[in-house]
């Protein structure tokens, strides 16, 4: 075997354990993979499967003595990283192998300028003088496409946006021209348009410098966009490995195929999504046979007894499963004929109708706190939602969609506008009248941790609405209702005396659903309800929401940034940009023939499996601050089709069809 055929990094049977109070947790339990120089390997899996621990093990950053690496070897450029002294390892870290993390907010030091932080690394590993390092730092910022690098270099992290910070992180990571870059969920906390920019940037730099990338992600669509090789992890092990081209057509481990099937998409609108029941096994107590056995829909006798080994089923494609002919994924090829279109027209009188809603926050400055301006979070929005309909509100962070959701329910103060619910003007009622009406309008939140009071038991949480609305007589009757509700949302009614921290993220969201179901609402605002969840759990929650909608004839306002969720669940969609709706229409109309340049860019930027020849539109920059939005069309600084007139006046609304309209001068 010739030297240059050797992979850059070769991980062999890596094992990393942590000592916990419950016993030894085998977070990574025998994983092997190779990364060739200049290629990208994606490590995919749901939370808790050991992806990040694998990355930290390669960097030898496991917190000792609680954790330790018991594994075999990690060969990097011919040397075993596990055998290196701590000093040698420090030389490699940040120099030959560098890492970027998910949270750009916390991985930069807030009291150092970004220039100092880049130079620190350069000086440490390259032994350059201060002046040379400065020059190099500017060049690095230039490379990661930060505008005006010479000025930006003396800025502090808090002066930069999230996307900019992640660019700085990449600049730091690449400043020593490493051979391997480990990226741990590098785009998860970013907006789609920014995510597309960052992924693009990483790819470009990889081509230029020949850096190999180990990409850790839970998002299969991102994998599709950038990876060359894919390793799927489950319960501390690799369960399927393949090249990209093969993976997306022939992946066949039951876990992988289920993951694919649980991805929401337009094609699956009229079906239930596949879900994976149960949870990832506890790393202190792995089952004896296949670790996926108790969740696997294809499990058979042998699975519970014998641990499947990784075996090749084709050149370059291996799985750990006993099945001889595991069925491959069907989604990439199968198109399901849609039985019914989503309801497109409004029912005669809408359940919720909002006219010209404005929510401004005053900006106060100075000693006397005088108002110097307003943040126009929501700036004149009209929407209406019919009974049983789902309207999706999409947009990037900072566009005002969350404020909008809370405003409709009058959870925050509204500057002006009218809201009618069931033909009742809810802007002008208050006190007990409003409180009684609240039962019909509910909200569900994103954060499964922050949305449940940690000091209340499940039955108290769910029965809160029952009490306040006077449903159910005494405690016993209420407890019975609560049990029934828990059953409905798929929770074990025996758990009613548990506290929220004893539940997983998905279960907590179910509690959130039971809480609003208790008062039998007609309308629910769902605020990013699935974005903190793994795909298989997301599928469960989406299924549940859909079933409930059909049974109870609920209307949803679905606030999200995830477009594939929108295509699955919504009937109508409204795209928001800086406090205004720029385009609205049925799902088909907006997704098939997007009118507004922003919608087009948003669709193009969101990663999507199976659309290779798609034209990419890369947006420059990020969403500007709503404190002083750009003059004229708010989108003009980023718009690829900007015309001179756009800079002066905000465009009016132009209809493209009966239900489809957009606010862009292109359609004048």
């Amino acid at each position: 075997m010739k030297m240059n055929n050797d992979p850059l990094l070769s991980v062999k049977d890596l094992r990393t354990c942590f000592r916990t109070t419950n016993g030894l947790a085998r977070a990574v339990d025998g994983i092997s993979f190779d990364i060739p120089a200049g290629k990208t390997l994606a490590l995919v899996g749901e939370s808790g499967c050991g992806k990040s621990v694998t990355a930290l093990s390669i960097m030898r950053l496991i917190q000792e003595p609680a954790g330790y690496i018991a594994g075999d070897r990690i060969i990097f450029q011919g040397q075993d990283l596990l055998k290196l002294s701590k000093r040698k390892m420090r030389e490699i870290r940040g120099n030959r192998i560098s890492m970027i993390f998910q949270e750009p907010m916390t991985s930069l030091n807030p009291v150092m300028t970004i220039g100092e932080q880049i130079m620190e690394v350069i000086q440490l590993h390259r032994g350059l003088s201060k002046k040379e390092a400065l020059g190099l730092a500017v060049e690095m910022l230039n490379q990661v496409k930060i505008p005006d690098p010479a000025i930006r270099i003396s800025e502090y992290p808090h002066q930069l946006s999230g996307g900019m910070k992640q660019r700085v992180m990449i600049a730091i990571a690449l400043s020593c021209e490493p051979d391997l870059l480990i990226a741990d969920e590098p785009t998860t906390s970013l907006d789609v348009t920014v995510q597309a920019q960052i992924l693009m940037l990483m790819k470009e730099l990889q081509q230029k410098e020949g850096t190999a990338i180990l990409l850790i992600t839970h998002d299969i669509a991102v994998v599709y966009e950038v990876a060359d090789y894919i390793t799927v992890m489950y319960a501390g092990r690799a369960i399927e490995q393949a090249k990209r081209s093969r993976f997306f057509r022939h992946a066949c481990h039951p876990y992988t195929t289920r993951l694919f099937e649980s991805l929401p998409s337009m094609d699956k609108r009229n079906e239930q999504l596949s879900t994976i029941p149960g949870r990832v096994p506890d790393p202190t107590r792995y089952p004896e046979g296949c670790r996926f056995a108790d969740r696997c829909h294809l499990a058979f006798d042998r699975c519970n007894k014998e641990d499947p080994k990784m075996r090749f089923i084709e050149k370059g494609h291996s799985i750990a499963c006993h099945l001889e002919n595991a069925p491959a994924i069907s989604t990439a090829t199968a198109t399901i004929t849609r039985k019914t279109e989503g309801r497109a027209t409004y029912t005669s009188s809408p359940l919720v109708s909002v006219k010209d809603l404005k929510i401004y926050y005053p900006i106060r400055k100075g000693l006397l706190k005088s108002i110097v301006g307003h943040v126009k979070a929501v700036d004149g929005i009209d929407i209406s939602i019919g009974q049983g309909e789902t309207l999706a509100l999409v947009g990037e962070s900072g566009c005002g969609k969350t404020t909008m959701g809370r405003g409709i329910l009058r959870l925050i103060d509204i500057t002006c506008g009218t809201i009618h619910f069931n033909n009742i003007d809810i802007m002008h009622i208050s006190g007990s009248k409003l409180r009684r009406l609240r039962k019909d309008m509910q909200i569900m939140f994103q954060d499964p941790y922050g949305s449940l009071n940690p000091r209340m038991m499940v039955n108290q949480i769910i029965s809160e609405g029952l009490i306040s609305q006077g449903i159910g007589g005494n405690k016993k009757e209420r407890d019975n209702i609560v049990k029934e509700l828990m059953d409905q949302v798929g929770l074990d009614p025996g758990m009613i005396h548990r506290y929220p921290h004893e539940f997983s993220g998905g279960q907590r969201q179910r509690i959130g659903i039971a809480r609003f179901l208790a008062v039998k609402p007609k309308f629910v605002v769902c605020d990013e309800v699935t974005s903190a969840l793994d795909v298989s759990v997301q599928a469960q929650i989406l299924n549940l929401l859909k079933t409930l909608q059909q049974r109870e004839d609920l209307s949803y306002l679905f606030i999200t940034h995830n477009l594939s969720v929108v295509t699955y669940i919504a009937d109508l969609v409204a795209v928001m940009y800086l406090g205004k709706i720029v385009e609205r229409g049925t799902i088909r109309e907006v997704f098939d023939t997007p009118g507004h340049p922003y919608t087009q860019a948003l669709l193009a930027a969101s990663p999507c499996i199976g659309e290779d020849g798609r034209k990419k539109i890369f947006l420059e920059g990020e969403v500007p601050s709503p404190v002083n939005p750009p003059e004229g069309c708010h989108f003009h600084p980023r718009c690829p089709k900007v015309m001179p007139g756009c800079r002066k006046v905000y465009p009016g609304q132009y209809s493209l069809s009966e239900t489809h309209s957009t606010r862009c001068w292109l359609y004048e």
Binding site: R435, N453, E464, Y499
Partner: protein, 389 residues
């Protein structure tokens, strides 16, 4: 022996506190989720030791809070009556603790003696049976019986230090008891209702906290003193006088110390208001009062608990400082502050008398330390985020 129970103001408050503690205990036994944290505390050995020490202090403090007067009797043990045949009681008010430790209380010497000493600490002129006078270290009446020695007038220091326990506990708990409802109410009201309510409360506490606490306490205590001097007839005896002063000291300490907690609670409430579960219950139409009761208060309770404990220790220590400055408890009252105050002179004399200070210090230290340790364990047990299944 006929006695008359005497109820002092602080006694009543202590009974009230005890009753509510018992009430809370009975209430929590009925609910598993309130019982299990206590079980966890019971598994923590350090906490149990601290709890036991604390328990001893509390028992002593409680024994010292049941006061009574005995009937007056003449030398032959005959009960005396006044001219109309009414009952006369002895002027000194005793407590159950006094009875329990009668032997220590009544074993007085002439003057200083070192801990467990057999002879007096300074030389004395003694007239021998043959009439000769010599100067020597006299034998004590109760040799080796004084654990912490005796003080200037020959009182057992250990007894005085034991009596100081009640004063310490009263200052530490009643002050917080008095200020707590006020601090909690204003703090969460400011954070919850915002707007003008917030402005008003902030205005009040900023103003209050910019007046030096000692000044406020000193002026209040001096005013009280003047009042008590001019209306001496309203206070039957020294104990009642001293107790009134103690009570007002608690009140004024409470008034000057609620601002800190109020400010913290306001901030915490503001933070909690952003929590989604609060918004969810608003969306469910839950009333303000219920939201405060179910969502805000339980989630600030750990802060209250921490600050109560920190305040407890701080207040026990503050009592010492204030008494030292002369605006603390009544100079006739047994308290660690007064003992330390007296020690000021004793440390300056030659040879120095250190046991007054040492006794006060050791007992104070034991109380503060065990309270801190115990409260730490309780707080951890009640925080569901830290709780392990």
């Amino acid at each position: 022996m006929e006695i008359k129970l005497v109820f002092l103001w602080t006694d009543m408050l202590i009974y009230l506190l005890l009753l509510s503690a018992i009430g809370f205990a009975v209430y929590s036994i009925r609910f598993e989720h309130l019982r299990s944290p206590w079980r966890q505390v019971a598994h923590n050995r350090l906490a149990m030791v601290a709890g036991f020490v604390l328990f001893c202090y509390i028992i002593i403090g409680l024994c010292d809070s049941i006061h009574f007067q005995e009937r007056a009797a003449d030398e032959k043990g005959q009960i005396v009556k006044d001219s109309q045949g009414g009952i006369i009681y002895k002027p000194d008010v005793l407590s159950v603790l006094d009875i329990l430790v009668t032997s220590i209380r009544e074993n007085t010497e002439d003057s200083y003696s070192a801990p467990l000493a057999t002879h007096s600490y300074s030389m004395k002129n003694i007239t021998l049976p043959d009439g000769k006078q010599i100067r020597t270290y006299a034998k004590l009446k109760y040799e080796g019986k004084h654990l912490f020695g005796t003080d200037k007038v020959g009182m057992d220091v250990f007894y005085r230090a034991l009596k100081g326990i009640r004063t310490g506990i009263v200052i530490g708990t009643l002050t917080t008891l008095i200020m707590l409802p006020f601090a909690i109410m204003t703090g969460i009201m400011a954070g919850y209702f915002k707007g003008w309510v917030d402005d008003l409360i902030q205005y009040i506490y900023t103003t209050l906290s910019s007046i030096p606490g000692v000044l406020l306490i000193a002026s209040a205590i001096l005013m009280l003193q003047v009042y008590m001097d001019t209306h001496a007839d309203r206070f039957e005896n020294i104990i009642i006088r001293a107790d009134t002063r103690l009570f007002f000291l608690c009140v004024i300490l409470g008034v000057s110390s609620w601002t800190g907690l109020c400010r913290i609670l306001r901030g915490e409430t503001l933070k909690l208001m952003e929590m989604e579960y609060v918004q969810a219950s608003m969306a469910l139409g839950v009333g303000h009062f219920k939201i405060l009761l179910k969502h805000i208060i339980p989630n600030i309770m750990h802060i209250v608990l921490i600050s109560v404990v920190l305040d407890f220790s701080g207040l026990v220590l503050a009592e010492a400082v204030l008494s030292y400055v002369g605006v603390g408890v009544d100079p006739t009252m047994e308290s660690w502050g007064n003992m330390i105050n007296a020690a000021r002179l004793e440390l300056a004399r030659e040879p120095i008398v250190w046991w007054n200070l040492a006794a006060a210090f050791i007992l104070m230290f034991g109380l503060v330390l065990s309270a801190n340790l115990f409260a730490d364990a309780v707080r951890d047990a009640f925080d569901p985020r830290l709780r392990t299944k």
